[in-house]
Amino acid sequence: MTLAFTICSVNYLAQARTLGDSLLATNPDWEYIIGLVDDLSAANLPDALRPPYPMLEVAKINIPDFQAMCDRYDITELNTAVKPFFIDYFYASKPEMTEIIYFDPDIIVFQPLTELQERLASYSIVVTPHTCSPTPDWERPNELHHLNTGIFNLGFVGLRKDAESQAFVNWWKERLTYECRIDLCAGLFVDQHWVNFAPAYYQSVYIDKNPGYNVAYWNLHERFFSKQDDQWMVNGNYPLLFFHYSGYNPYKPNEVSKYQTRYTFDSTDPRNRPDAFPLFLYYRDQLLANANDTYSHYPCVYIKPPAVPRYKRVRKALKAPLNRLITLLEKRN
């Protein structure tokens, strides 16, 4: 059996529900679970807001020393760091699941994913690159951003339950316990950058370049959309399988994503992408119908106040003589 899951906090339940609805319509035999980085008793959702899908709170999956992880990480880091821990929990607690698919909550699925299941019959791990071809310009995001943050997008990963994917998940868990941070200069970008290692360490990794997979702002330059008999197609020949609306704001329908500068939905702009616009409007309608307005106001119990370093001037003064010494030591003789 196949298990699909996502991870989010209560404020993103509209997205998680929309993903669940799309899976139910396209892959009805899959089980779907929402991994919740939040506390349901604290949120105390009214019945009308309880999603029709099972939810699993992160505190219940027995992450060793979870409190320390909460202290270490901000909300983005925490939400991404728990990904392999959820996978591992499903491996152990749901032995009937032979494949586990992770989707970011802001993805929706358009078609049955039979090809993915077939792929997982021959490979342990399936990942999708941000882009399968060079980026056409130096707008954001370009090849340099992907070098810093990861070649593969970890809004999706498909795993077959076997010894190799278990070894990968164990290694990933170890790394994310302490180093699921954003520090580009130190080679770190949450859970995603680490997965660059997957094809180097593991033999049964498939880099899936199907243009219908994980379509998002980072690959719009190589993917164009059309509709054939009520079915969305990519580049004419490939059915659209799942779309990732990363950084999309339903209240700013003319913006593709807050993370990109390459395209717009402004018809007076030469960067306009009218072919993609209906796909975004469709998603917007789904989100609003799934109570996005209400969910988005729920605060997450794991959000900490941002750390404000105090006494910046004192610290700077203390460091000054040390930094002078470093400069001196690093001088060429």
């Binding site: 090849e143 130190a186 290692f197 370093p309 460091k319």
Partner: protein
Amino acid sequence: MFAVLTVCHTRQLPQAITLGKSIQKVTPGALFLIGLADKLPDGIAADSLPFTVIPASDLLPEAELAGLSAAYTPTEMAGALKPLFLQTCYERYPDRPTFVYADPNLCFFQSLDAISDQLTDATLLLTPYLINPPADSKFPDEKHLQNIGLYNSDFLALRRSDEATRFLTWWDSRVRTRAHINFCEGLCTDQIWLMHIPAFFDGVRIIHQPTWHAGLWNLHNRQLQLHSGQWQVNGQGPLFFANFKGLTNPDEGFFPYQNRLFVGKRPDIQQLMTSYNQQLQVNRQPALTGIPVYGRQPEPLILRGWRKGAVDSLRKLTAFIDTMPIPVLR
């Protein structure tokens, strides 16, 4: 059927010649080419060297070379020209179906046929620095590899094909002006760009055999044994090629501060290095030294001994000052 290209500075010519001879020995028909990201010193004629030398002036007009030279260190400069050297040779020798790039510090021990065997159903071969996660927290760690690129650009093999042509054009278009080392910007010579290859090009094979590309960064996982004149790796087969970068000269390469491998405790590596150094010694010439002509920016300074220890401690201290909790005084 093989053409093997190396790219080096004049002072690395003894290594390049050692590499060329090792290739001649294992695969006599292979064509070995030296791309010189430098100029030969006065008194050394290109045809006095045992292999074909392609000067940087064959690639680009002097004005463009001077522009790049002003922007780069010698290491970056050699990286910046590497894709263009490879592309030039690829076009110049159309009868060679298999192209290999090999760093001058490489040395081959077995026939190159293993490469063409892999290329019967692949277009491009990549060798990762690590094929297993490190089991310790020593240096280089995985974060450092993320900064420099996981695939070692000291070796690359490609089969003549449209895909290879497309790759070479793209690689040069990215690397020539973006070969700086700047981790915060995602830049590291020609090497980090290889990260895109498995996503952008078809028929890419990542080599997982421990017999390929043994070096400073992975020998902790690879035990060598000499069996009837042949080096065996972990009992899994004969050593195909090794990279002596950072072994003969610890300041060279991306890991001057590595602390995982201690050659003093590895008689197998010592023996391998002794025999390599003997071959290298034969090819040394007093004239083949000196500062590279291209790459006017200084290489980063490598600290050793007490200076390194002092700077590390001071850095730890400043990081502590940045993060230590100071109680609020009212």
